[in-house]
C-alpha cells in the first residue's frame, strides 16, 4: 500500500469552488445565497482537509423519510411529482439540513409501469403502498453472456440486459446489433427488423416512458429550483457504482457472481475493467450537468463478511479505485456510501490522494475509521438509524455528542445517518440535526 498522496487537484478545487459559489442559481435573496455558500463551504472544507470548517456539516442522507414524515405514502410520492416536490421543499426548509435529498431518486411509478420494470418492486407494485421501493436481485445476465458483455457492453446493455429487466422491452433482444449500418447495402436488416411489430411496440414503450419521465422532471424541477434558490445544495450531483456491484447487483446477482470468482475469475475481472470508464463517465456526466461535483457511490458487496481481504484486493478494490481516481481526475469528489461494515478494509480506503473523496459509513467502527482515515480522507455517517426510528430525543442527543466527540476532530467529518433513510421521527431527526449543528461547532 502506498503512502498518503499529497496531490494538488486544481480541477477538483475549481469544480468545488464553482459549486460552492452558487453560480447559475437564481437565489430568492442575498441571505439565501450566503446560506448556500456557507453550507457548501462546510462540505468543501470537510472534504479538502485544508481548513477547519466553521462546524460539522449535517447531511442526514434521506430518501423516502421526508415522504413518511409528512404523512404521505411511498406510492403518492412515486406517482405525483407535485406531492414529491412539495414534500422535499418543506422537508428541506423545516429540517434545515446542510445538503438535502435528491427528489428524482424517488423515481416515477407510471414510467416504470410503462416499461414493466422488473429490477425493483415499488409501492403499490409488489410492495405495500406506504413503503419504499426494494431491489429484486436475479441472474439477469447469464454466465455465457460474459463474452458479449466484455466485447461490447453498450450493445449487451441495450439489447439484452434491458430486454430482461423491462418486460415491455423484451423484443429488443430480437434486434440485430447496430453495426450493419456502416454502409448502405448492409443497413437493411437492421432497419427492417425495427419495423417488426413487437419491436415497434418496445420502442413505443421506451418513448412513452421517456415522455412521462420528461414531464415528471419538468414538474419536479421547479421544486428543486426552489430548494436551491432557498439556499440548500443537494447532497450529490450524480451517482455511479463500483464495477463489482454493477455485476453483483443488477447483472449476475450475488450468488452467481460469487461462484464466478472461482469458475471464471478472468472474465469477471475483464467485465469489471470494461465497466471502469463507463462508470467514470456516468458519474462525471451527471455531476457536470447538475453543476455539483459530489458523486455518490453506494458500496454493497465488498463489505466485511462478503469476501476475504485477498478477494477484496483482487476483485473489488482495483476497479472501484480506478473509478474513484477517474472521477477525481475529472474534478469530481467520489462520495462512497460504505454500506455494511468495513472494519477489515479501512486500510484500502486510505489509499487515495489526500482530501479528495468522502467515505460515509454505515456499521463500521467510527473510532477506527477516524484513526485509519483521519487526515487522509473526509469521513461521515456512523449514526444508528435505529435511534432515529425508535429512540427518544435524549438518546439521540447523547449519541450525537458521543459520535462527534469520537470522530469530528478538527474537521474532515460529515454528520450523517449510517444508511439511506427511508423513515424517521420528527422529534428525533430534528434533535439529531440541532445537536449536530450546536455541538459540532469547531
Amino acid at each position: 500500500m502506498t503512502d498518503i498522496k499529497e496531490i494538488s487537484n486544481d480541477k477538483q478545487e475549481a469544480f468545488l469552488s464553482r459549486w460552492a459559489s452558487g453560480e447559475g442559481i437564481a437565489f430568492q435573496d442575498d441571505e439565501a445565497k450566503k446560506a448556500y455558500q456557507y453550507r457548501c463551504g462546510l462540505i468543501k472544507d470537510a472534504v479538502q482537509l485544508k481548513k477547519t470548517p466553521d462546524r460539522v456539516p449535517v447531511v442526514p442522507l434521506e430518501i423516502f423519510a421526508p415522504v413518511m414524515l409528512y404523512g404521505y405514502s411511498g406510492k403518492e410520492a412515486m406517482y405525483d411529482a407535485n406531492i414529491l416536490g412539495k414534500i422535499y421543499l418543506d422537508f428541506t426548509r423545516d429540517y434545515d439540513v446542510d445538503a438535502t435529498a435528491i427528489a428524482p431518486m424517488v423515481m416515477y411509478g407510471p414510467a416504470l409501469e410503462t416499461l414493466d420494470y422488473q429490477l425493483y418492486k415499488w409501492p403499490g407494485h409488489g410492495v405495500k403502498e406506504k413503503l419504499s421501493y426494494q431491489f429484486v436481485e436475479k441472474e439477469y445476465m447469464k454466465a455465457e453472456d460474459y463474452d458479449h458483455f466484455i466485447s461490447d457492453p453498450s450493445d449487451y446493455w441495450f439489447r439484452i440486459w434491458l430486454s430482461r429487466t423491462c418486460g415491455a422491452l423484451a423484443p429488443l433482444a430480437q434486434m440485430p446489433p447496430i453495426y450493419g449500418t456502416m454502409e448502405l447495402p448492409m443497413a437493411g436488416p437492421w432497419l427492417c427488423t425495427l419495423g417488426a411489430p413487437p419491436i415497434q411496440e418496445a420502442f413505443k414503450a421506451l418513448l412513452k416512458a421517456g415522455q412521462q419521465s420528461f414531464e415528471w422532471i419538468n414538474t419536479l424541477g421547479s421544486y428543486i429550483g426552489q430548494i436551491m434558490a432557498a439556499g440548500y445544495p443537494l447532497y450529490a450531483g450524480s451517482a455511479t457504482k463500483a464495477p463489482f456491484d454493477v455485476l453483483g447487483d443488477s447483472f449476475r446477482g450475488t450468488t452467481p457472481l460469487m461462484m464466478d470468482l472461482y469458475r471464471r475469475p478472468e472474465k469477471v475481472i475483464a467485465a469489471m475493467e470494461r465497466l471502469v470508464p463507463l462508470m467514470i463517465g456516468t458519474g462525471v456526466g451527471g455531476a457536470v450537468a447538475n453543476n455539483n461535483p459530489l458523486v455518490f457511490i453506494p458500496l454493497h458487496k465488498g463489505a466485511d463478511g462478503f469476501m476475504s481481504n485477498d478477494q477484496f484486493e483482487k476483485f473489488y478494490w482495483p476497479t472501484l479505485k480506478a473509478v474513484m481516481l477517474g472521477l477525481i481526475d475529472n474534478g469530481c469528489v467520489p462520495c462512497c456510501f460504505v454500506e455494511g461494515g468495513y472494519n477489515q478494509r479501512l486500510e484500502y480506503l486510505a489509499d487515495m490522494p489526500k482530501g479528495q473523496c468522502i467515505y460515509i459509513f454505515d456499521r463500521t467502527d467510527m473510532t477506527q475509521a477516524r484513526k485509519v482515515l483521519g487526515g487522509k480522507a473526509c469521513i461521515g455517517g456512523g449514526f444508528p438509524i435505529s435511534l432515529i426510528v425508535t429512540g427518544n430525543v435524549r438518546q439521540v442527543e447523547d449519541e450525537t455528542k458521543k459520535l462527534l466527540d469520537a470522530v469530528a476532530g478538527d474537521g474532515g467529518y460529515i454528520l450523517s445517518i449510517g444508511c439511506a433513510m427511508d423513515e424517521a421521527k420528527e422529534d428525533t431527526l430534528k434533535a439529531f440535526i440541532k445537536t449536530g449543528k450546536q455541538y459540532g461547532k469547531y
Binding site: 413503503l131 460469487m258 470468482l261 462478503f306 435505529s386 438518546q395 433513510m421 427511508d422
Partner: protein, 216 residues
C-alpha cells in the same frame, strides 16, 4: 489418503472439476454411494467451520453448496431414499423468515445454509412472510428458535408484532427470538422484544448453539 478423503479435500479446496471427476470415478468403481455422499457432507461441514473462523466467505459457501447439488444429481440414482434421509441427528428446530414488507433474502439464505450445516432442522419460510403465517408455522413445526430477518428499517415493526403475537398466543416463553439484518442493534432488539440481535450469520449460529446447549 482414501479416495473419498481426496474428494472431500477437492470440495473444500473449491476444485470443482476435480471433485466432479472423482465423484464419477468413485461411482464407476462401485464405491458405496453413501460413502461418496458422506464425503460431500464432510466437506460442507469443513467449509462451514472455515466460514465461522473467517477463512471462507460467501464465495466458498455458495460454491460448495452448488458443487454438492451438482454431485447429488449424479449420486442420486445410486442411492436409496433412506440413505440420505436424516443423515445426522438434528440439534434443534429453527424457523427462519424475512418479515412482512421486506423482500431481501441474501443474509437469510446464508443463515439457513449455515444452520443446516450445523445440524439444525431449518424451516425457511422465504421473504415477506405475514405474521399469521410465522405464528402458525412456528406452532406446527414446534420451533425452538424463531429467526427474523430484515434489511430495511421497515422490518422493525413487523418484528415487534411477531413477538407481541407470540405473547398473546401464550407461547413467547417456549421459543427464543433472534433478529438479524444490517440495521439491527441493541436498541432495536429491546424495541422488538427479541432475545438477541445479530448482524452477521456466524454470530447467529454461535448464539443459537449456545441456547441449545443450555437447553433453550
Amino acid at each position: 489418503m482414501k479416495d473419498t478423503q481426496l474428494l472431500t479435500q477437492a470440495v473444500v479446496d473449491m476444485e470443482e472439476d476435480k471433485a466432479l471427476a472423482l465423484t464419477r470415478q468413485l461411482l464407476e468403481s462401485k464405491t458405496d454411494p453413501v460413502a461418496i455422499f458422506n464425503a460431500y457432507q464432510d466437506a460442507m461441514a469443513e467449509v462451514g467451520k472455515r466460514f465461522e473462523k473467517g477463512i471462507y466467505f460467501i464465495p466458498e459457501l455458495v460454491m460448495s453448496g452448488d458443487m454438492m447439488n451438482s454431485a447429488m444429481e449424479i449420486i442420486k440414482p445410486y442411492l436409496n431414499e433412506s440413505d440420505t434421509r436424516d443423515t445426522g441427528k438434528k440439534t434443534g428446530r429453527i424457523l427462519i423468515a424475512t418479515v412482512e414488507g421486506d423482500i431481501h433474502d441474501i443474509g437469510k439464505n446464508i443463515v439457513s445454509t449455515l444452520m443446516a450445516l450445523n445440524g439444525f432442522e431449518v424451516r425457511d419460510m422465504g421473504v415477506d412472510v405475514p405474521i399469521d403465517r410465522i405464528i402458525s408455522e412456528a406452532k406446527e413445526f414446534g420451533a425452538q428458535i424463531i429467526g427474523l430477518s430484515g434489511l430495511l428499517t421497515l422490518a422493525f415493526d413487523p418484528m415487534k408484532n411477531v413477538v407481541e403475537r407470540l405473547e398473546q398466543e401464550g407461547i413467547r416463553d417456549t421459543v427464543k427470538v433472534i433478529i438479524g439484518g444490517g440495521q439491527m442493534d441493541d436498541q432495536i432488539c429491546r424495541y422488538v422484544g427479541a432475545d438477541a440481535f445479530v448482524t452477521d450469520a456466524v454470530a447467529g449460529i454461535s448464539l443459537c448453539k449456545n441456547w441449545l446447549n443450555g437447553s433453550i
